[in-house]
């Protein structure tokens, strides 16, 4: 059984709650980071010259398509990642245990 899940169940009630709050905060942080990197990516790929003050129609359309496509992509990778993440988790734990043993 997953030793970390066990660890979580062993936490006292208020610690469990604190952890749940920390997880929620990380989810918000994660989505703000994705939002930030999404603007960066679409700006980088769609906007190149700065002679006029506003985005032209082509650039606007490009930014819009870029954002929509990335969101679809992200949803798909999320599903695939759910299938892979228990594996990623166990490998990460191997790394952490190895590191702690090396101290």
């Amino acid at each position: 059984m997953d030793p970390n899940l066990a660890a979580m169940q062993n936490l006292p009630g208020d610690q469990q709650q604190q952890l749940m709050q920390a997880i929620e905060q990380m989810q918000v942080r994660d989505s703000l980071r994705m939002y930030n990197s999404l603007v960066e990516r679409c700006f980088r790929d769609c906007v190149s010259e700065f002679r006029s003050k506003d985005l032209n129609a082509g650039e606007e359309k490009c930014v819009q398509s870029c954002a929509t496509k990335f969101m679809k992509h992200s949803a798909r990778v999320g599903i695939r990642f759910g299938e892979l993440s228990s594996e990623a988790e166990s490998q990460m734990q191997a790394m952490m245990q190895q590191q702690q043993a090396g101290k």
Partner: protein, 80 residues
């Protein structure tokens, strides 16, 4: 008990505020770095007037692009 709940809500509000400030800092860093990459090419230590104009436009366009992305994200989420 009630005071405990109050305190907790306050802690969460403070955490959210801190997160928003962190986001604005990240956002500002990204604009700064991207617009420097896009506009500043000459090796001198001062900003030429064309570079300054490019920077101002770059910031404005970044803001515009942000609006479009926000709208696209909110539209997509509404469809789920």
């Amino acid at each position: 008990m009630s005071s405990g709940h109050h305190e907790e809500a306050a802690t969460i509000a403070a955490a959210e505020q801190a997160m928003q400030i962190a986001f604005l800092q990240d956002f500002y860093q990204t604009v700064r770095d991207k617009c420097f990459d896009k506009c500043v090419t000459k090796p001198s230590s001062s900003l030429s007037s064309s570079e300054q104009q490019c920077l101002a436009r770059c910031c404005d366009r970044y803001a515009e692009a942000t609006q479009i992305v926000t709208k696209a994200v909110l539209d997509m989420s509404g469809l789920e």
